[in-house]
């Protein structure tokens, strides 16, 4: 399916979805209505007690703008659903248009305090690591969306993870997510790690070249990443040295190639590849 076709299929549907809500719905009985109103009064938007990330008051300007920009495309696509290609293109342009001013507004606005705080925490993590492992251990600090991000040099990966697990200031003991990503020049492995005592939630990364991709394993420190590392090995072809049981996990033994790599060709090699 091509992009255009698909978005056309979506367009009328999505329109319905967007317009429907404007009609008041009768689903609740009058009694229910009263209750709902009363509770609305009681709850004056308790949207965001600091820790949550759902809605952000600093971004109040964005939604109306986006709405304005999208609005013109709506009647067009609703009026002539038959001429499918045009409205879709319109919608695309409108969406792009909607984003640009929003982005500009963001750039002009003062930096998000949550991101600033994340960067600060990342710096502190770096200080801890550098004090123990030397200046070269940390390659980069910053923020991964709203979370502190520290990129660690590959050779120091297990030492750094172990240090942060045992360090009294961090106690990063619970890996929530481990993922690998294939970029054009390198493969990046990232873990999102939590301190269940102190509440830190930090993104740690490391990189390896795509050729002979190799990263020291951290299974001995966090046994829970055993299968995650196997999966990354299977699908992205990163060898985790010192892994106790590095085998394919999703694909079958004898399968060639690593499907999540961007240059993987979709033909599976048929019988040569051991497929049945």
């Amino acid at each position: 399916m091509s992009d255009v076709e698909d978005s056309n299929q979506k367009t009328p549907e999505e329109n319905e979805g967007a317009e429907q809500p404007s009609k008041p719905s009768d689903s609740t009985a009058p009694a229910g209505e009263k209750v709902a109103k009363a509770s609305e009064g009681e709850k004056p938007k308790t949207a965001d007690p600091a820790a949550t990330n759902s809605s952000d008051p600093t971004d109040g300007a964005k939604p109306p703008e986006a709405a304005d920009a999208v609005a013109p495309s709506k009647p067009a696509s609703a009026a002539k659903p038959a001429a499918a290609a045009k409205p879709a293109a319109g919608a695309k342009a409108a969406a792009a248009g909607a984003e640009r001013p929003a982005r500009a507004a963001k750039a002009a606005a003062p930096p998000d305090p949550r991101i600033e705080a994340a960067k600060e925490t990342a710096e502190k993590v770096k200080a801890t690591l550098v004090a123990e492992l030397g200046e070269t251990a940390v390659e980069e600090t910053g923020a991964a969306h709203l979370n502190p991000m520290v990129r660690i040099k590959r050779d120091f990966w297990p030492q750094a993870v172990e240090l942060l697990k045992n360090h009294a200031d961090w106690q990063l003991n619970y890996i929530e997510c481990m993922a690998g990503t294939d970029y054009p020049e390198y493969i990046e492995v990232v873990i999102y790690i939590q301190s269940t005592n102190l509440g830190h939630f930090i993104c740690l990364k490391t990189r390896t070249p795509r050729d002979r991709a190799q990263i020291p394993s951290i299974v001995s420190i966090h046994p829970g990443v055993n299968w995650e590392e196997r999966e990354i090995y299977d699908l992205l072809g990163v060898h985790f040295t010192n892994h106790p049981d590095l085998r394919r996990i999703m694909m079958w033994e004898g399968f060639k190639g690593h499907p999540l790599r961007k240059d993987y060709s979709e033909w599976d090699g048929g019988e040569e590849n051991g497929a049945h």
Binding site: D6, S7, K10, G17, Q20, P21, P24, S25, D26, S27, T28, A29, G32, V35, A36, K37, S39, E40, K43, T46, P49, T52, S54, S55, D59, P63, A66, A67, V70, S73, K92, A94, A95, A96, E99, R103, A144, H145, N147, N173, I175, E176, C177, A179, G180, T181, D182, Y192, T196, C203, H222, P223, G224, W227, E228, L235, I249, M250, W252, L260
Partner: protein, 374 residues
């Protein structure tokens, strides 16, 4: 080798036994290669991947809205929550505001889904242990939930209901009343199950003190959800990192004490009660009108960067990690699959156990293979 004296005196031979892939107690296509000596398990090795569909790779060629139906097929008994997990990550990336009515519809559907999923978990667990009737009974209650979802979005299993910025369909007239009526009905049934199962001597002797692990092990293995809470560790993302509008509801997080199979069973029962509490409050607060889909551009483009957020799924932390280049499709999408992570502990739990306990332990870990294999 963990053999009793008595067992050692009888000559046994090590034997390899295949459990699965087509075995009813594996809850799908899951294979377990166990090395046994007599009745005792020496080693167990899970073999997965029979249901691997490459969802993560497929997602790289799909727009965000198009990925939603694929999430239905991960943990196929709690599709609503999977839908939400993806939408939530994208919404956080876009910093979207969700209409009130949509938030409430999401909470109601997600918590009902949790009840449906836990019902099935309990029913199939009892079936694994040899009790046939609970499995058939739970389908009656589950059916009511499924019917309500069917009315809401026209599907019984794969709902494709959530959208980035809200939900696809508004509740039809009378739907909320149906939900309201369902709550006392379900409470009564829960009481019935509690009476029938929880005190059952045979059941208790199968699950008490079986498959025990402690909090330290659970954290080291990255367990989440009921598996982690059964050890008495208070970790529910609805409380710890509140998302959606969970901070508006009054509910408790049930915790276990011993970390055995019985605790994991009883937590399922208690969580259903808590979910009903949330649904009850949500129904009371439900806004009488309003949009169900926020102002979202037709083509959802996530700003360049990487995003991760996890929610409390039925089986643990369900998270989506998205790397975006600012296009309408993700550059990379990784799913943090609770069943996949939880299953890793299984070989450790099975060592030294008898074959009969294998089913009891595997059932209590509560996996769905669609999610394990993704």
């Amino acid at each position: 080798m963990a053999l009793t004296d008595e067992a050692q005196s009888i000559r046994t031979e090590e034997m390899i036994l295949n459990v699965g892939p087509q075995h009813p107690s594996t809850h799908g296509v899951f294979r377990l290669v166990v090395k046994i000596s007599g009745e005792t398990i020496i080693e167990a090795e899970p073999v997965i991947g029979y249901l691997h569909r490459g969802t993560e790779k497929l997602a790289e060629d799909l727009q965000y809205t198009q990925i939603i139906p694929y999430t239905d097929r991960l943990d196929y008994v709690s599709a609503m929550i999977n839908n939400y997990a993806l939408c939530h990550t994208v919404e956080r990336a876009l910093d979207l505001e969700i209409p009130e009515r949509a938030e409430y519809l999401r909470i109601i559907t997600m918590e009902l889904q949790r009840v449906a999923s836990h019902l099935l978990a309990v029913g199939s667990y009892l079936l694994d242990l040899g009790a046939m009737s609970p499995f058939l009974y739970v389908f009656q209650e589950r059916e009511r939930i499924v019917q309500m979802f069917n009315e809401l979005c026209g599907a019984r299993l794969t709902y494709n209901y959530m959208r980035v910025g809200g939900v696809k369909w508004d509740a039809p007239p009378g739907w909320i009343d149906q939900v309201r009526d369902f709550i006392p009905f379900m409470r009564k049934k829960l009481k019935m199950y509690d009476d029938l199962i929880t005190g059952n001597e045979i059941f208790l002797s199968r699950v008490r003190g079986i498959g025990v692990f402690n909090t330290e092990t659970a954290l080291a293995y990255g367990l989440s959800g009921i598996n982690l809470r059964s050890t008495g560790f208070d970790w529910d993302l609805r409380k710890k990192k509140p998302y959606s509008i969970y901070n508006r509801f009054d509910f408790e997080v049930p915790l276990g004490k011993n970390g055995d199979c019985f605790d994991r069973y009883i937590l399922h029962m208690q969580e259903m009660e808590q979910s009903l509490r949330i649904v009850e409050q949500a129904v009371e607060q439900f806004p009488s009108s309003g949009p169900v889909l926020g102002k979202v551009p037709k083509m959802v483009r996530v700003p360049a960067g990487e995003y991760y957020s996890g929610i409390e799924g039925t089986r643990g932390e369900l998270g989506f990690y998205i790397v975006s280049e600012g296009k309408d499709k993700p550059y990379r999408m990784k799913i943090r699959k609770p069943s996949f992570v939880n299953l890793q502990l299984l070989p450790e739990l099975l060592k030294g156990q008898s074959m009969a306990n294998l089913i009891a332990i595997l059932g209590a870990v509560d996996i769905v293979l669609g999610e394990v294999d993704a």
